[in-house]
Amino acid sequence: MSSAVSVHGLNHSYGTHRALTDVSFEVSAGEIFGLLGPNGGGKTTLFRILATLMPVGSGRVEIAGIDASHDVTSVRRAIGVVFQSPSLDIKLTVRENLVHHGHLYGMRGSGLDAAIDAALARLGLGDRRADLVETLSGGLKRRVELAKGLLSEPSILILDEPSTGLDPGARRDLWEYLSALRARCGTTILVTTHLMEEAERCDRLGILDRGKLISSGTPDALRRRIGGDVLTIRTADPDALRTELRERLGHESTTVDGTVRLERPDAHLLIRQIYECMPERIESISLGHPTLEDVFIHETGHRFWSE
């Protein structure tokens, strides 16, 4: 068993709306795998199926080597889940939340106490154990959520948009913690995100758009597919500019959100050529190394945030 998570030919519909279409991917043990995509792309549906909140419709999902359509209980024992929305009882203290959670996972007595102490210490929550959750800040609540997801020492941790509502500092802490966790325990981490900077921190990514997994690979490999740097040209009339680029200079380009894009290995050399050729058409021209957002545009033909 080298795959911690294996999804094959997964489909899911809400009534007539197709949320997932033929999604297949593998996550190796000990890997940090990111599912990147815009909101509404199918990430949350996929998360809910992997977290066993929704049944596997058609297709095959194996988690920790267990078929999720047959033995949900064993899957649940193997995974830790951190939700995007809070799952804490705010009327209880930090420690009470963890005690209840431990009981649900069959932990008890001194073993549970030790696990709680360890989880709280690692997340820097030791002095907050007796505080009611409703008195904690957003960042601290998030840490308690994480402590809760990790309490049963799952071999696979599934997180849905974990940095929602976190300031940049807290977000950095979270990712440092996840990396350290993987290094220490070999935990497989599967995370959904719509943030490019978060996606950069994953070992491998799957890009989800409109219910389809359109691409997967390491962030670097995905960027290399662009085959060069990216030129973005702002202009009043994108179609006319593209025609001129094609006819006068022989460059193919695309229109994304009213701007003209070219992906070329020698992009920096083109700036001068294009500008001198058609100065009156160009409002601005910018050059950049490909980002994951460029990868997304390259693969889908539309912007991450469009629609």
Binding site: Y14, R48, A51, M54, P55, R76, P86, S87, H103, G106
Partner: protein, 256 residues
């Protein structure tokens, strides 16, 4: 263990919210004092029964406390769902029946606890309720509380707003209490109303409480004690099974 931990959470939550403790107790007691004082002059129980209205109404008040506490506590499943707490429990290895049972057990502890508190305070209102009567009524209270908590779960499990629950509460649950013989006896009511009272499962719970609390009074119009207990057991079994079923369904419609 899962049932215990979830039930315990209910009790701790309840005690931390003082207004809930107050609300669940105050209304039935107010009803009892107001109606007891207001209606006792015009009330005449069946021929040969020598009890005043305050006494007549008392088991009804106990049933009302059980009903209110059960309902308010089971509504919290809707809050649990909306606050996100439930999703964390749903992805844990415990079966959904344990989640239902945790709620029902926690609710029952709260409901019976409050009902007993009122029983203990009853002598202050000039009521003579025997210790034996109170002890005998505890198992009945437990049964009725389980049945009502099960009913609450059955209604609340699939709901996404407490407003919807309030609508059901005023249109179904309150009439169910009013027409259970808690407020007035079935005897002497028009035929159709007597039928509703006879078909209302709560009638038997209230009657069972009456039998337990006033073992010496002759209550000719009530169904027999055995019949009452059996009917209440059936009521509890039906609502519990129903809520287990509803909770066990995993839906793919996006509801967590």
């Amino acid at each position: 263990m899962a049932v215990y931990t979830l039930a315990r959470r209910e009790v701790v939550r309840f005690l931390r919210q003082r207004n809930r403790v107050f609300g669940a107790l105050a209304q039935p007691i107010l009803f009892w004092l107001i109606f007891g004082a207001g209606l006792s002059a015009s009330f005449r129980a069946g021929a040969g029964d020598r009890i005043g209205y305050t006494e007549y109404f008392f088991p009804g008040v106990v049933a009302m406390i059980l009903l209110f506490t059960a309902i308010f506590a089971t509504i919290s499943i809707i809050d649990d769902r909306n606050s996100g707490f439930l999703q964390g429990v749903l992805v844990s290895p415990v079966p959904t029946s344990a989640i239902v049972l945790g709620k029902v057990v926690g609710t029952t502890v709260l409901a019976v606890g409050q009902a007993l508190l009122v029983c203990i305070l009853a002598p202050l209102a000039g009521m003579s309720v025997g210790v034996g009567g109170i002890l005998a009524s505890i198992p009945i209270m437990v049964l009725l509380a389980v049945a009502l908590a099960g009913l609450g779960m059955l209604i609340a499990w699939r709901m996404d707003s407490t407003q919807g629950f309030h609508a059901i509460m005023t249109s179904v649950l309150m009439p169910m209490w009013l027409l259970s013989g808690a407020f007035f006896p079935a005897e002497g009511t028009p035929g159709w109303l007597a039928w509703i009272i006879a078909l209302n499962p709560m009638t038997y719970g209230v009657a069972a409480l009456r039998h337990a609390l006033y073992p010496d009074a002759t209550m000719s119009s009530l169904p027999s004690a055995t019949m009452c207990v059996l009917a209440t057991v059936a009521f509890a079994a039906a609502t519990l099974t129903g809520s287990f079923r509803v909770a066990a369904e995993r839906t793919s419609n996006g509801l967590p």
